[in-house]
Symmetry: C2
Subunit: 423 residues, 2 copies
């Protein structure tokens, strides 16, 4: 009999990088790379030149004169310097971000959502999506015991979510995702979670990660519609983590934002359902994790509540200017015909191709490992395998007098270059 | 009789920039500049070239090849890129900051404090000093009613402090600073505040701003020693906001850190008194407010408490890399003999000279205004005038049927170019 290793968090902390046998070490891999942080630059992905060139010029405007940057880089840098107080990245910005960048974000959303308009005053820039989420969750928090705020949270969920809910003093109400359907969201699971926790806490919101972290699932229109209908019926706020929206690679898979689906469901929903969507500079293809910026768009939220939100963001002062401007460059990239367009398009394509290939390759590797089975990903940067201790490992461990799970982990590391870790 | 205008927060929101009479407007000033944010770049101060050059190269390392930057700029950029994961500013860092930068900070502190050593593991980098302070205050918070955490806070205090304490759920226990002694800290005021609030809350820390925001006062050794003795006797944590430590210009005035004084008082104090000191990229002469970085050093704090602190900082992910590297450049500037040394020294000198002159000029202007009196500043970037409604203004307003304070504010704006505002 095999036993489930449920108590070991099966998040993959590293995958083998090469199967080439090295005679020196006799191992079928060259080394172990830590990819658990979801940090592409750390593992060798290259920054996008246009973003970095414009930021370099903004930081040191003398480069406008004597450096051979393409003219659109210089033009953009000049425009961005104009929106900074005193023409310097060293000035504070409003706590919710530079107005110009909020407008760029609103324009991007409008275009992404086939013309459904976004208003910059509902867009708030923060030092990362995580930070904006924390502030919203704190706004919702309250109560004690049976009245304590609850937020429906998927299982599995981003590893950052449980400590965030915990610090905000909110109860996580777990709903299971369906592994056998590629980690799809099942409405019955949501309903059951809600029913079983009503009376035990005060459920106020549904948190959704789409494209899914760590599952790689991407919801289709029907699935999103069902969630919206439930939120409408139960008067729940939708907290939608859409930070991997530009990393979708599954066949016939398209990213549809919750906002777009909501608005295409008609006014009954588009004028009532409260929704907050998060996006991030770190999780997008540009992957500028170190520059720290993200944003949220609030839909159908009470303006007075947004004022409180803004006040709470104030204690952070603001997101860094370098991150804010990088958001602007990411969401308003060079257009066809611009001098930087070709290079930029090639770099982005390369980034996305590598991501897609890595997802396929990692899936193969995982499914080849003894005891592993893994659903393919349709988007995002994670895979979420199931791990079951093989019977022969258990027997070998018993013979050697070792703990079976420790023995298994050692074998995976020594023989496959895969490190299993507890979060 | 004159009446105090205590209900109008006398923070000066703008000072007149020129007395030259403009015939067009017949006003004795050209315009009104908002200096209330304490943001030097916004009002025209120039960034420090060395900081910006190195950051530009770090962001776009191709500049190492083809740009005529001084060799020490390139060398430093190369060194800083090596400490970033994957050689990119786009990678996450540890939540408490890049180890190399924490070491630079520790070295700076050691040098500043005449050799009293600092350990990088007690240094935590955050997205600004404000953010680190918030996390520490939250660690201290707790209790309800009579057991609620109290923190002694000066009056006047930085305008950001009351909302911070409030959000953290901590009671501010006010102690008065002595205006007639240039806003010096008086130990009796601290003692009285403590006595009158003991039993009404649980005082756990003393917050001190030195050089003083908004008072401009700089404490001498004796004054700091008294506070340390009180903290030791009453087992209070010292939260010392030292963000203006490099902006001291009063005659015969020297900045002494609380840590240095504490250690020079002998082991009875240096091994027991808990102290947290804050410094900031925004408030220092480089004034890189937009890049968002600051740090705190903890002294005599329980390592387990620091672990919790680190975990709490984790929800921010980390301070932006651009800010962290700017801290490194600020605290480890070019040395004599380095190619960038002369320019760098001149730029810093200019910045400090302008600051000193502005402080003198603003003091003259304020003391010339009807109803104003102001203590000179010894450091920092604020002046804190007393405002008393002149008798003739009150009479004129009465004749005109206007509210006296509104009339007074209008006259100051129209005739002097000075805008009084409520925070």
């Amino acid at each position: 009999m095999t036993t489930s290793l449920d108590f070991v968090n099966p998040r993959v902390r590293a995958i083998r990088v090469s199967e080439q046998t090295l005679l020196e070490s006799l191992k079928p891999f060259k080394g172990v790379i830590d990819v658990s942080s979801g940090d592409p630059h750390r593992t060798g992905m290259k920054p996008i030149s246009f973003v970095r060139q414009v930021l370099a010029v903004c930081l040191y405007p003398h480069l406008l004169q004597d450096n051979p940057f393409p003219p659109d880089v210089k033009l953009r840098a000049q425009r961005l310097l104009q929106i900074c107080e005193g023409g310097s990245l060293g000035s504070y910005t409003a706590s919710s971000g530079l107005h110009h960048v909020r407008q760029t974000i609103a324009d991007f959303i409008t275009k992404r959502d086939a013309g459904i308009s976004a208003n910059p005053k509902n867009v708030f820039i923060s030092s990362g999506a995580q930070r904006a989420l924390m502030v919203v969750v704190k706004l919702l928090s309250g109560g004690e015991g049976l009245t304590k705020t609850g937020i429906l949270a998927p299982q599995p969920c981003p590893h950052t979510l449980p400590p965030l809910l915990d610090e905000a003093g909110v109860l996580a109400v777990p709903y299971r995702l369906m592994e056998d359907r590629g980690w799809a969201l099942d409405l019955n699971q949501l309903r059951q979670a809600l029913e079983s926790y009503r009376g035990r806490c005060n459920p106020r919101a549904i948190y959704i990660s789409n494209p899914g972290n760590p599952t790689g699932h991407v919801q289709d229109r029907k699935s999103i519609q069902e969630v919206v209908q439930l939120a409408a019926a139960e008067k729940l706020l939708l907290l939608v983590d859409e930070v991997y929206q530009d990393s979708v690679y599954g066949q016939n898979t398209e990213f549809l934002s919750y906002k777009r689906v909501l608005f295409e469901m008609g006014r009954e929903f588009s004028e009532t359902v409260e929704l907050v969507s998060f996006h991030s500079l770190s999780c997008a293809s540009v992957a500028e994790c170190g520059l720290r910026a993200g944003y949220m768009e609030a839909v159908n939220m009470d303006p007075d509540v947004l004022k409180v939100f803004d006040t709470m963001l104030c204690t952070d002062i603001s997101a860094p200017t370098t991150g804010q401007l990088a958001l602007d460059l990411m969401l308003n990239p060079p257009e066809p015909g611009d001098p930087s367009y070709d290079t930029h398009a090639q770099e982005l394509l390369l980034t996305r191709t590598v991501l897609t290939r890595n997802a396929e390759r990692a899936l193969e590797v995982l499914n080849d490992l003894p005891g592993f089975s893994c659903q393919p990903a349709m988007g995002g940067i994670y895979l979420y395998p199931r791990v079951q201790l093989p019977a022969e490992i258990r027997e070998q461990a018993e013979m050697l007098g070792l703990e079976a799970d420790v023995f298994y982990c050692q074998k995976l590391l020594e023989e496959e270059g895969l490190l299993l870790g507890k979060r």
